[in-house]
Subunit: 430 residues, 2 copies
């Protein structure tokens, strides 16, 4: 195993505690071998604290010694691109199966690693890379294989979902909710990767590549974060019966080959199952042409859930089923050309616009004109009372189905009107 | 394929429509061969109506001719025990993999069939037997393998869930909701198998056998149906914040090896995800010691979802991964002794009791005495106004954790009191 952080200790703990159970299940003894760490002394202290003193003799900080030790499978739970990437390649070249939880690596260099595994006749398993404890990679690549997938809608970042739940249910501002998430350990000291949507974008790249049999990298996913979301919009959405969630979506509209990708805060009707996923839970809704809508829910991260996914992969390698699956079910992105994807401007959906307008006659006509002249049909138009000490009134418009490009162009035109103050807010309604 | 009913036509349709997709995914051409039906003329009409004229030449009503035709896999979507059982055994003996959607057969004779498949070096796949479109068999036997499972809670019968949703959300009586379900085709002309809980019990036997690595048959699952549920209890539960669902549960309490099995209408707090599963949807909540709570949701039955599961199994056989999984992951009940299970009286939970009492002093003391003397702690006690034209008042008691046996004994004692009219109603609170 490479790495002995939170997840690594969880994996070591499961392998120790459930040794007998895993032997019953697989007919093989599954034992942890050498563990490559940066700091052996620190790892020994962590092992002793985790009640795993036996593990203490396994640590090495020497990659060459690690590579030379006997192993059939290498588990990578260290994270980051380099030097981990090199160690994984070395393991694959030595015909060792690899289990990884590393979404950043897969989103950036997945195709090369999958191809290398194939070349050497071994497999690369990665259930833990997306959605922590939810076995959604297995569902997408095995259970739902009879379907042409038409939509993926995921809540794939627990930090964002925790913050949005606090903003929605307790009326907190983004800044308040973020500070609390840091206090409670749900957010990192540097929260950028989470709140910008980049983490969810990496997971979406991995999942959408599998679902659509294409090759999508993390940098192809347009991401709008939650860091600019205002409490006012959360509250207006709630009045309309919507909860806001950071949704990673990959859709294929009828007759379109390209996949529409996006990570963005979206409004979801409160009676939809995805709106019921609160706190740090993750969820993935998958729509297939035969199965219809399905939903998978579970813990998005954390020691136990991620270790569960890593060990699940390991046991499926031990029985031989995952290597056969990896070799036989041709879904991984190394087998596919780079995905054509829908331009941001062409993403279709329903939209929420919030404008700040002077309360004077003719304003509504100018707003509806700007929308109507671009073929955008208005579903609802609501003028709220002015906020304390302000003369401008918030105006909320919801639209019927339209492209993001058209809606953004209308919003830009509206922003240019004399009677409008400040930039319009545009959010998708799922 | 054996059978050409709703599901069979769905399978044929997918194999026809997605032929190219399946070849891309598996590297093999997957083609439908002979189809064994009872009435060839009727099947030809159905095939023509389904826009599948090509299928018309494939039908035979002769089991011997069917068995002699070339095939690597036999799909069984006919249902029932005999003669289907014999044809499945014949296929396995001829070293053909079998895919079945037949929960009744698996719940009754699963271990024999699994063992026969092993003897002949082939596999028996059955994702479609439980929960229609939800790939929950795959989740339980592959994705969650690192866990010791501690709880399964399923909404596994769409007919019951439809009826209960109508009773809860629209205040209908059981009889009204059932009549409507029949009108809309959600319930069979003879609804007994569904509303008695027997259908959910068969599915629970299959799923719990896998989850706990034991051998449970359908007849070992105690079933309480929804057919005696009164609208009054649905309404009183709603006042307390509960929705009622028919829950198939298999639990292993800490320190207990035996599995507690039950199918029964249960109250679920409305903010729990399982309470949000409405209409004909199915869901399975799985709790594992590492992963924590997970939830899988999808269509419970119907042509598309069931065909999706059947074809998913088929494609995983074609790639070789399912045969390796079936041989290597030792979960199926043929490998395990019959399960010890918890006696009905020892099932633990929280409980709802509804009594009909005379409105006179001392009644409450007598009721709480009967509970307290059996060590049952009361959580809430609510006396409702008498119903029109009745002198007795409904009294609702909710308890803290207690065994069903103790609660039933207390209810029986309470029923014997002079001040109580009619039998008490006992329902579990999850």
């Amino acid at each position: 195993m490479i790495g002995y952080g939170t997840v690594g200790r969880g994996v070591a703990g499961l392998l120790h505690e459930h040794a007998e159970l895993y032997t019953q299940r697989t007919g093989h003894q599954v034992q942890l071998g050498r563990v490559l760490v940066r700091d052996v002394a620190k790892a020994r202290v962590a092992a002793a604290q985790a009640g795993d003193p036996e593990a203490a003799t396994r640590f090495t900080d020497d990659p060459a010694e690690f590579a030379a030790a006997p192993a059939q499978v290498v588990i990578e739970v260290a994270g980051g691109l380099d030097p981990v990437d090199g160690w994984i390649r070395q393991a694959l070249q030595a015909q060792r199966h690899v289990v990884t939880a590393n979404k950043a690596l897969l989103a950036a260099r997945g195709p090369e690693l999958f191809a290398l595994a194939r070349t050497h006749g071994v497999s690369l398993a990665f259930e833990a890379s997306c959605g922590g404890g939810i076995p959604c990679v297995t569902a997408l690549t095995a259970g739902l294989m009879g379907n042409r997938i038409t939509g993926l809608y995921g809540i794939l970042n627990g930090t964002c979902n925790y913050i949005l739940t606090e903003m929605t249910q307790r009326g907190k501002s983004y800044a308040q909710a973020l500070a609390e998430a840091k206090d409670k350990g749900y957010a990192e000291a540097d929260e950028t990767l989470d709140v910008s949507g980049a983490d969810a974008g990496q997971k979406l790249a991995v999942l959408a590549s599998l679902a659509y049999g294409v090759n999508i990298t993390g940098d192809q996913v347009p991401c709008w974060g939650i860091d600019t979301l205002e409490q006012m919009d959360v509250a207006f959405g709630a009045e309309l019966g919507y909860d806001v969630k950071l949704i990673a979506s990959a859709e294929r509209w009828p007759g379109h080959e390209p996949v529409g990708l996006s990570v963005a805060p979206c409004f979801i009707p409160r009676d939809q199952p995805l709106a019921q996923i609160h706190g740090s839970l993750n969820a993935l809704a998958v729509e297939g042409d035969a199965v219809g809508p399905t939903l998978f829910v579970g813990a998005g991260a954390g020691q136990g859930p991620t270790a569960s996914a890593v060990v699940g992969d390991l046991l499926n390698i031990v029985t031989g089923s995952y290597p056969a699956h990896f070799a036989g079910m041709r879904l991984t992105p190394d087998l596919h050309p780079p995905a054509e994807h829908v331009a941001e401007a062409d993403l279709e959906g329903r939209w929420y616009l919030r404008l700040s307008a002077q309360d004077q006659p003719g304003v509504m006509a100018q707003i509806t004109d700007a929308l109507g002249s671009r073929g955008i049909s208005v579903s609802a138009l609501l003028q709220h009372p002015p906020r304390d000490g302000e003369t401008a009134v918030p105006v909320v418009v919801t639209t019927h189905r339209a492209t993001r490009g058209n809606v953004q162009a209308a919003a830009d035109a509206i922003a240019g009107l004399d009677v409008i103050t400040g930039p319009p807010v545009v959010l998708r309604i799922l």
